[in-house]
Amino acid sequence: MVHALRRATDLVTPRGLLIDLHPTPDIAHLAIVFPDGTAETIGIVHSDTAVERHTNADAAVAAALTEGFVWRERADIFLFSRYCDSLDELVAYVETKWTAWFDTVALDKARNQLRPGCQLRLSERVSISALRRATSRE
């Protein structure tokens, strides 16, 4: 992954900007949002690979900074949410796009509590880094 950052750095102009966005290793959460705007977390997303993959992405950015070919101008973490009123659609999305799944307890809660006007919300934390070439400081 640090190789990708190095390649990306080579492609930007000396004063250019490299923006990296990737999920943090924190586990994504499933919630029901009720018509009055309140929400209840009902479960998490299970994945065999997500935590490792996102940890590796964090490590790649850290390695790039340590190796010194970029410096970080700014970093932040934000919450990225997806909404859907169909449990089946969200389950299919998570299975196909994330190779992940919800546990039985979360699915049961969703089926029991999902009513017209409610939405399912799938949220994950995302890291953003603004990186610049080390040469931009010269």
Partner: protein, 96 residues
């Protein structure tokens, strides 16, 4: 109802916090998927190249971004070839 991504536009706000304007920028987006993020800045940028190894996603992006001048390429970053220092901005879009 399809899945609605980030209606709060938290991602866009985070990007604008690090880069307030794409005006005049030559941009490469790596991992553009169906162009969900690309759409938000491409009208403002001088030129946009967006790549993704998922050919189906690139097909979707061609439809979604048909009204915008975006060069789309179904390729992975490892295979993508461009001269050094070709872009003012490179976005690694959930692709590390």
């Amino acid at each position: 109802m399809a899945i609605v991504h980030d209606p709060e536009q938290a991602e866009l706000a985070a990007i604008h916090a690090v880069l307030p304007s794409f005006a005049g920028k030559r941009v490469l987006e790596v991992g553009c998927g169906d162009g969900r993020l690309t759409r938000h800045y491409s009208a403002e940028a001088a030129a946009v190249t967006a790549i993704d190894p998922d050919a189906k996603a690139i097909d979707d992006a061609r439809v979604a971004l048909s009204d915008l001048r975006v060069s789309l390429d179904a390729t992975g970053f490892d295979q993508y070839i461009a001269p050094p220092a070709s872009y003012d901005v490179v976005i690694l879009s959930w692709s590390l």
